[in-house]
């Protein structure tokens, strides 16, 4: 069983969001970068659980520049066996998914895991596109899954509930809350991560179909309008007459 986990580098949840170069670039000044939490807490940790339970090997892939190497080392510290970094700063989903699919075609993974989306671009497109390029099934927004021989039993979120399905490997699954128990890398994991193989390869030829032209911050809230706790009916009046939402 070979598992590929797709990880990415994102700005920390609490990072101040600002833009430079005439609002065309995310301002990284003072921003801490982390492994995208959905990739880390769900996809990667679930892969580690499967490695421990059934002796799977876990491989990491990241499409990004050299700045993302600390993120990859953290992934290795969790216990992944090796990692590959495709050396590109592209942010286009088609390009990134082409890289991951191209690498997967050579390595024949049984299971490819992604987080449900990144917390910066909120794209959620990579997993499905990789499945599309490879011609294998894609299950999005999994909240639980188990392997049973060559079959995967997976539960996913749908409007107002959940759906359980059965699929044959190989498959791509995008993971969210529920698929794995929380954990952090061990000290031994962190020490051994430095010695694990991290292969850097050049990207293959693929089109980039999208580009960010500019960013914009939402208009600042005009400030909260407080209503006295003695007159909650005044809030109802405001919601009805001023805001017109009820």
């Amino acid at each position: 069983m070979k598992i590929l986990v797709c990880i990415s580098r994102t700005a920390d949840t609490t990072a101040k969001i600002a833009f430079s170069n005439n609002n065309t670039k995310f301002d990284e000044t003072g921003v801490q970068f982390i492994m995208n939490p959905y990739d880390e807490w769900y996809a990667l940790v679930r892969a580690m659980e499967l490695k421990e339970k059934m002796g799977a090997t876990v491989h990491l892939i990241l499409v990004g520049d050299q700045q993302s190497e600390p993120i990859i080392r953290k992934g290795l510290a969790y216990g992944a066996d090796d990692a590959v970094r495709i050396d590109s700063g592209s942010a286009d989903p088609y390009f990134i998914a082409s890289q991951i699919a191209g690498y997967s075609q050579l390595e024949h993974f049984d299971l490819i895991l992604t987080g449900k989306e990144t917390i910066d671009f909120n794209g959620s497109a990579i997993g499905g596109m990789v499945a599309g390029f490879l011609g294998i099934p894609f299950i999005s927004l999994a909240t639980w899954f188990e392997l049973n021989g060559t079959q995967v039993i997976v539960r996913r979120e749908i409007e107002g509930g959940t759906e359980t399905c059965r699929v044959e490997l190989p498959i791509v699954i995008s993971c969210q809350k529920g698929v794995a128990e929380m954990r952090t890398p061990s000290i031994r994991g962190i020490t051994s991560a430095r010695l694990k193989p991290l292969l850097v390869i050049a990207p293959r030829e693929a089109p980039e179909f999208t580009e960010v032209v500019r960013f914009e911050l939402p208009a600042a809230k005009s400030g909260v309008k407080l209503v006295s706790a003695d007159h909650p009916e005044e809030l109802v009046r405001l919601l009805h007459e001023e805001a017109r939402v009820i």
């Binding site: 997993g127 749908i158 107002g160 399905c165 999208t210 960010v212 209503v227 109802v236 805001a243």
Partner: protein, 322 residues
């Protein structure tokens, strides 16, 4: 050239979020001087097809085969791709709902085109094609140019109004030729909470946090929600403590919602919670702590004891609604 909108349904009902997508696709067709085609796969009720016509689409294609009701993203996306080639569609529109998130990337990969997800407004089409999307969990917007001939978009729910100005449209029934062997994903069980308003589609959400002290106190949240016709939600600690089911959890690790009105009761407003709700059009915060960070993100607020304030609010709303 045409615009193809995928119409998503659940138990025979067309989802509100895809009526928004149909309205968006129709407006975009008007903007570009082309036609919008709605594609329905699986059985849906007639009344909903009539409502879909009102969204302004030019044509409706419908394969009512029962088995298309089972969601295998591979099967559905292959029918969408075939239809798209047949109709020479160059723009595909999905809702950014659960099914849209699964289908749109498969379709974009198959049709070899660019994709932008979570779009919130009609594109700028003066020079090229530039769409506005939410980034950083609603804390900023990005304007993204799509350069490919075929473009796939997913529209964020509750970002675009449903149009009701269209007329009656004849439905073209077709057979996509899907057979049982095409299905690689076997759906073995579906569990939908009956009688609840799905959070992702709710226009008003009443949400409770740790300030409510325990699951036995949720009555005041539910009463307020009922009076407003709202869905109920909760913060992460509440779901993690098992006070409320996990599917009610909104926030960064839970569901992202963007209702017209979000009422937060006894929720302090940690940045992870805000990430899931700051797309809401209007936020009301009720908290006894005047320093709760949520007030900074709120439009209206009451500093006070939820156990006193909320029942009075419910009474005032019932009075308003007669």
């Amino acid at each position: 050239m045409s615009i193809l909108v995928y119409i998503d349904s659940q138990e025979g009902k067309i989802k509100k979020s895809t009526l928004e997508a149909a309205s968006y696709g129709s407006a975009l067709a008007g903007q570009l001087g082309t036609v919008a085609i709605a594609l329905i796969l699986g059985p849906v009720v007639q009344e909903d097809i009539r409502i879909l016509g009102k969204c302004g689409v030019t044509r409706i294609l419908h394969d009512p085969t029962d088995k298309l009701d089972r969601f295998d993203s591979g099967v559905i996306s292959s029918v969408i791709q075939e239809t798209s080639r047949r109709e020479k569609a160059d723009i595909l529109v999905f809702s950014h709902n659960f099914h849209g998130k699964a289908l749109a990337p498969l379709v974009a990969a198959g049709l070899q085109g660019g994709i932008v997800t979570g779009v919130i407004a009609l594109p700028e089409t003066g020079t090229g094609f530039i769409v506005k999307k939410n980034v950083f969990s609603g804390k900023a917007f990005a304007f993204v140019r799509i350069k490919s001939a075929i473009k796939t978009l997913t529209l964020l729910p509750n970002a675009y109004p449903i149009s009701e100005t269209g007329g009656d449209i004849a439905v073209q029934i077709f057979d996509s030729g899907i057979t049982e062997t095409d299905f690689r994903v076997k759906v073995t069980a579906t569990e939908i909470e009956k009688g609840e308003i799905p959070l992702a589609e709710a226009e008003i959400i009443v949400s409770g946090g740790r300030g409510l002290k325990g699951p036995e106190n949720w009555g005041i949240v539910q009463d307020l929600a009922e009076a407003l016709g709202a869905a109920t939600a909760c913060s992460r600690p509440v779901a993690d403590s098992g006070w409320r089911p996990h599917h009610e959890h909104v926030g960064q690790t839970g569901l992202t919602v963007r209702p017209n009105l979000y009422i937060a009761i006894g929720i302090s407003g940690a940045i992870q919670h805000l990430a899931g709700v700051n797309g809401s059009k209007l936020i009301v915060v009720i908290n006894k702590d005047p320093e709760a960070p949520f007030f900074k993100a709120a439009d209206y607020g009451i500093v006070g004891d939820a156990f006193q304030v909320v029942p009075q609010l419910t009474a005032a709303i019932k009075k308003l609604k007669g």
